[in-house]
Structures are given as C-alpha cells and as structure tokens.
C-alpha cells in the first residue's frame, strides 16, 4: 500500500535494528483517514472471502481493525488482556508471550461473541514474531470457529512470524512489509515478493 509505505518512510523512527516507532499515525496518535484507507484495503484484499467477524487485540489493533470491520460490514471484537478488565468468567483464553517485555500475558474473549460458525479475520497493527496472532488464532480455535485470514498493517518480514503463519496455510496480507531496518534505513519488501 503505497501511501502507507511513504508515511512509514517519512515518519517512522527506527530504534536499533528491529524497533520501528510509528506512533505519529498508527499506534499512539492515529490518522483516521489513513485508518479508513487501511480498512478499505483489507476489505478489497479479502473480497470474496466469507468473513463474519474481525478480531484484534487491545489496544493498538483497534483502530485499523475497526476500519476493516466497517468496510467488511461485520462486527469487530477486541480481545482483552486479563487483569485489566472484568469481562466475566465465561471466556476463551490464551497465553501470549511478549518478546518486547519478556513476559507472558493472557488474552481473552467472551464466549458470547465467537461461535463455531464464525469465520474470523484477524487484524493487527504489527506482525513480527507472530505471538499475538497465534494467541488470537487459539481463541478462534477454542470457539470452534475458523480463521479466514490475517491482515496486518506493518509486517517485519525479517522476523519469522509471517513466514511461519504462511507455511501453516494461513493467508496473511500485510499492507507494508519491511525487509530490513539496518543502520536506521527502512527497506520494504517489493509488493510482488510479499507472497500475497
């Protein structure tokens, strides 16, 4: 997605060789018009695929996932990190390892909102090692529902989460795919090579 790559080039800040801060438009300050374009792009990419729900993880996945749900015409569910919320005990849970903070946390979704006939599109802001996505896939599996695909705004293609998911047969669409960030310079994977 050309406009997104330009925005990342212009405003993204690289820290070390693997951290990309895009908090001026994606995950702290948010550009609502860009979110709308992102949502429309996901809806286009998954056109023709049966999708009944969009699932994301609080908090930074919510903005792009809401836009995707709007354009797909389906409800959004955001999984919650336990401890911070009381959504009752009637939940599906999974444990996600955060590499950034080197700890495990539990994510949960009310059983009421995922049914066995749901076909769920997972949307998130970043895909790196894939731990959060796999946690959401586990929630979907526990509900007996199926995962219709994964849409991420930014994929760090130099980490192996995306490759692992695709090898296991999951359709993963990333709107910007970063090949490397060595020496502070962002290199994107050319669109014809993203495997989408």
């Amino acid at each position: 997605m050309k406009g997104l790559e330009d925005r990342i080039r212009k405003e993204g800040r690289v820290i070390g060789d693997s951290i990309l801060k895009v908090d001026s438009f994606l995950n702290h300050q948010v550009d609502p018009v860009l979110m709308d374009h992102i949502g429309a792009e996901f809806a286009d990419l998954f056109h023709g695929v049966t999708i009944t729900k969009v699932l994301t993880l609080e908090a930074s996945g919510i903005a792009p996932a809401l836009a995707a749900a709007y354009h797909l015409g389906v409800p959004l569910i955001f999984a919650k990190k336990s401890g911070s919320h009381n959504i009752g005990s009637d939940v599906y849970t999974s444990v996600v390892h955060s590499f950034t903070y080197n700890r495990d946390y539990t994510v949960q979704v009310s059983r009421a909102y995922l049914a066995s006939d749901d076909r769920v599109l997972i949307v998130d802001d970043f895909l790196a090692n894939g731990a959060a996505i796999r946690g959401m896939m586990e929630l979907i599996a526990k509900a007996g529902a199926s995962c219709a695909g994964v849409g991420v705004v930014v994929e760090k293609a130099f980490q192996d989460g995306g490759q692992q998911l695709r090898s296991s047969g999951v359709r993963v669409e990333s709107l910007a795919s970063i090949a490397s960030m060595k020496d502070g310079e962002i290199q994107f994977v050319p669109e014809e090579n993203t495997g989408n």
Copy 2:
C-alpha cells in the same frame, strides 16, 4: 441519540444498581456502523467549535473516539496506561483512580502530540465519576493546551462526574444519559434535561 438508547435498552445488561454491560456493541464486541453514527453525532454537536485533536484513553474509548476524529477531520491520540507500553520518557502523565478496581494507575501521552495551541476534544465510552476524564484534562493542561469539550457515549447521570465537570465550566455532551438502573431497569434522562 435515539438509536443508541434503543440499543442500550435491547442489549444492555444491568448488574447491581450501577454496572451496565454494553459489550455486545460498544466495548468488547463493537458495531462499526454505530461507531460511525456516534462519530458523526459528536462532530454535529461540536460543529463550530475549534478542535484540533481528539483525545481518549485506551482501550475502550478508541472506537468511538476514532469515529469522532474521522468526522471532525483531526487526528486521534489515545493516552496509554503506563506499565503496559514503552512510549519513552518524554511524556505528560497523570494519575487516575479506578473505582472499579480500587487502585490508581498512571496515564500518559507523548509530549510530541499535544502542543500548547491544541484545542482538544476528549471522547470516552463511559462517564461515571469522571476520574478518567479529569486525568485526560490534566494531560491537556500539562501540555498548556485547552479542552474544547467532552463527548461521552454513555453517561451514568446518577453518579456525579458529569455534574462536576459541567459545574466547572466544561461542556459535556453525552449521547445517552442514564438516570437510574434500579431493579435492573434502565431509565434515561430525557434529552431536553441533559443540560446539553
């Protein structure tokens, strides 16, 4: 906002005399079309007021606030709860007391995204005692910016947060204002009496 009140009557679950669960369309599962209507309604209500940013608090404020920011044509910022994020040290912070969990937590926003000439509309999903809203107002004050008003989706008018804010001269618009929830029955404040 008529459609919202109907939705609360139909899907809201009252627990005790003061807890209202609307997690089928607002803060766990989210109806993106309703969010769009909510965003448009906030933009209408604050039409003619200079607003340069929308500010909310992660996570459940993000969906209605993103829609409001979209319709107002300004960026959204979501304040983060510290501990869960690393947004650096160059932040404004304030301490918010959670009555639900009976503990204090710190909320923060990067200094880069709030400037002294910003006129900020605060948007949140709920207003009860007003602690989260006051925390966000403190962030705005610390930046030397000004608060253009407060928009909340659901106000619990039987708690005093809204009254306190209005008494101190803040314009507060709530799209649904609940007078009482005694015996599980939701009574709304008639629209002509909401003080808006």
